[in-house]
């Protein structure tokens, strides 16, 4: 495995995003397939979450003062592992074990396997409900930690997501920040053709949430959205609707029509890394 460039303390968010994408592609290469396109689309959000917005300690992933990050869409584990490796919460050497027997990095995220993984996802639509309980618990404890939840547009089809959305408003959980990844692709096709979830911002606002919709692959916009969410009015849970591009950063994956679960030929992984390197910020 090629070594990444040494980590600089003042690494830019763009470079963080590049390295998260790179880690994800290297893990995909281990298995020869996977949810690579999602990892590439959400890398910018994860870069801002972990290297701009959230509080955490690499040496103490269970630190009580940390912000909680719940991965509701467990199949995005490859993306979160890539971020946790970049954060130093998971050692870089474990990258090669992704999805293998006895690895701490299983294909679908599970709480008991991986440092920094706060919940067991995989069955979609669980995360926001757990987040409601976490947010209630943090308020009970008088903690100012926040609960971040990442979920996907396909999960909007799960009724439980709307149960949690109503409960968060009912309890005024302003310590909740959720990000929905609208990449418009789910298992059976484009999400907007599977379930009519638009107009999403109007719906969420009507449900009592503070909402900001952004291009989830525009790092400045993502950073501004997280800042605005943190500064949003008290008493309201916050939702960032992130429109993203599947496969972002690797043109031949961006253009692939069926990219929910990608099989990549052996020689293509090097091409994917080359594409990322080509787009790397100076």
């Amino acid at each position: 495995m090629a070594e990444a460039a040494p980590l600089l303390p003042n690494t830019s968010l763009a470079d963080r995003a590049y390295r998260i994408r790179r880690n994800a592609v290297l893990m995909g290469e281990v298995q020869g397939q996977g949810y690579i396109a999602q990892a590439l689309d959400i890398a910018d959000v994860l870069a801002v979450a972990y290297f701009h917005a959230m509080r955490w300690r690499a040496e103490d992933p269970d630190w009580e003062g940390r912000d909680r990050f719940l991965l509701s869409n467990g199949h995005y584990a490859i993306a979160l592992y890539a971020a946790l490796i970049e954060a130093g919460i998971v050692p870089e050497g474990e990258l090669e074990s992704y999805g293998s027997d006895d690895s701490r990095l299983p294909m679908s995220g599970m709480a008991s396997y991986t440092p920094g993984m706060e919940m067991s996802g995989g069955s979609l639509g669980l995360g926001l409900s757990i987040a409601v309980g976490r947010a209630l618990g943090l308020k009970r404890k008088g903690s100012d930690s926040r609960v971040y939840t990442l979920f996907s547009d396909g999960e909007l089809g799960e009724g439980s997501v709307w149960e949690a959305i109503m409960a968060a408003a009912q309890f005024g959980l302003d310590n909740m920040i959720a990000v929905v990844d609208v990449n418009n692709m789910q298992a059976d096709g484009p999400s907007t053709q599977v379930t009519a979830f638009e107009p999403l911002v109007d719906k969420l606002e009507a449900f009592g949430w503070w909402v900001r919709r952004i291009d989830g692959n525009d790092l400045d916009a993502v950073r501004d959205a997280f800042d605005a969410a943190l500064a949003a009015p008290e008493g309201k849970p916050r939702m960032i609707v992130a429109d993203t591009l599947m496969g972002k950063g690797v043109p031949f994956l961006e253009q692939r029509e069926k990219n929910h679960f990608i099989r990549v030929e052996a020689h293509e992984w090097r091409l994917a890394l080359d594409a990322l390197d080509a787009g790397r910020p100076a």
Binding site: S123, R134, L136, G137, G159, S160, Q170, F171
Partner: protein, 338 residues
């Protein structure tokens, strides 16, 4: 053609009602009001980490007593069982002991995946306390949790408890509050009968208790069927039949040693009695325990609910119809013993 009861004096037919909120207490039986609610208040005084949650069934699970005493420790989650259990998992992940209540059908059938993934798989400290277990509602299959124990037994990490009476529920609440990990507890609510205090009984998590010994039959029972077994055993004394009762409140983990020891005593047939379908509950758990331990009792009788969608109607009618009333059980035991 449905048979109609004979007209009463007024000329209108007099029907037996199917009151959903019926108490399971028999006439003249000693009872205690809302033992779960009061016990939870007591447990919560000493344990500040306890919180109570419900999905629009506080009053119907006796949790309203806790809510009144500790309004700031009570969460009304609305009619949303999936969210109830997901949020309970989240509160437990933040260090709290969450008592989450609803009806047995809604916990097990509607929110199964949430309990499986967010509570059992993550091994969170959530106590799932459910009213209307087995056949304790005359409302029809929507409210009759005939298969709840089978569903919850099959779930890894889950402790499953089927209490008999108010005396036992009062003791179970602090015991499960101190037990780290997920628990499924069947609830008897409202005016709950008192029986086990007569035996000087004390609950221990994971332990079956021999309430009485007898040479002629062994009743292995849980939940309200222990109460029935007690009355049946009293009636059988008139026929010079001495029945032993092994009460098994913890369905999982099962006290296999106590079951094997009691069933291995020669000469007496075993009658398992459960307020549950004959599929996947106490009866099948006991049967496999005996087979694995090469215990062959003098006879095997399994008294439980049929593998069918049960009728709506008045509970006494239904308990007779499905063979779990005192009269029906007594008759079946007598017939079996010849």
């Amino acid at each position: 053609m449905i048979a109609r009861p004979a007209p009463a004096a007024s000329g209108k037919p007099r029907l037996t009602t199917s009151a959903m909120i019926a108490s399971i207490a028999g006439e003249g039986q000693r009872t205690k009001p809302a033992p779960f609610g009061h016990a939870l208040v007591e447990a919560a005084r000493a344990r500040p980490g306890i919180v109570g949650m419900t999905a629009d069934l506080g009053k119907y699970t006796d949790l309203h007593i806790f809510a009144k005493e500790f309004p700031d420790r009570f969460y009304q989650m609305g009619m949303a069982e999936q969210n109830l259990f997901g949020a309970a998992s989240g509160l437990a992940a933040e260090g709290f002991t969450a008592f989450a209540t609803t009806y047995a059908v809604f916990a097990t059938r509607r929110a199964y995946d949430f309990i499986h993934q967010t509570i059992a798989e993550e091994n969170r400290d959530v106590k799932i306390v459910v009213a209307l277990p087995g056949l304790t509602s005359g409302y029809g299959p929507s409210h009759q949790a005939a298969e709840d124990l089978a569903l919850m037994r099959a779930m890894p990490n889950m402790t499953v408890i089927d209490p008999c009476d108010a005396h036992e529920i009062e003791q179970i609440v602090p015991a499960i509050a101190d037990h780290k990990g997920p628990v499924y507890m069947r609830l008897l609510r409202g005016q709950v009968p008192l029986v086990l205090d007569e035996y000087g009984y004390s609950f221990e998590l994971g332990k079956a208790k021999l309430l009485r010994d007898g040479a002629d039959a062994l009743f292995i029972t849980s939940g309200l069927m222990t109460m029935r077994a007690h009355e049946v055993a009293e009636r059988l004394k008139a026929d010079r039949i001495d029945a032993a009762i092994l009460h098994v409140p913890t369905i999982k983990p099962l006290d296999e040693a106590a079951i094997v020891a009691a069933a291995a005593k020669t000469g007496r047939p075993v009658f398992v009695m459960e307020n549950h379908t004959v599929i996947g509950g106490l009866g099948e758990a006991v049967a496999s325990t005996l087979l694995r331990n090469r215990v062959q009792p003098a006879g095997w009788h399994h008294i439980g609910l049929p593998d069918a969608f049960l009728d709506a109607g008045a509970l006494p009618t239904l308990h007779d119809r499905y063979g779990i009333s005192v009269e029906a059980v007594t008759a079946r035991v007598k017939a079996a013993l010849g």
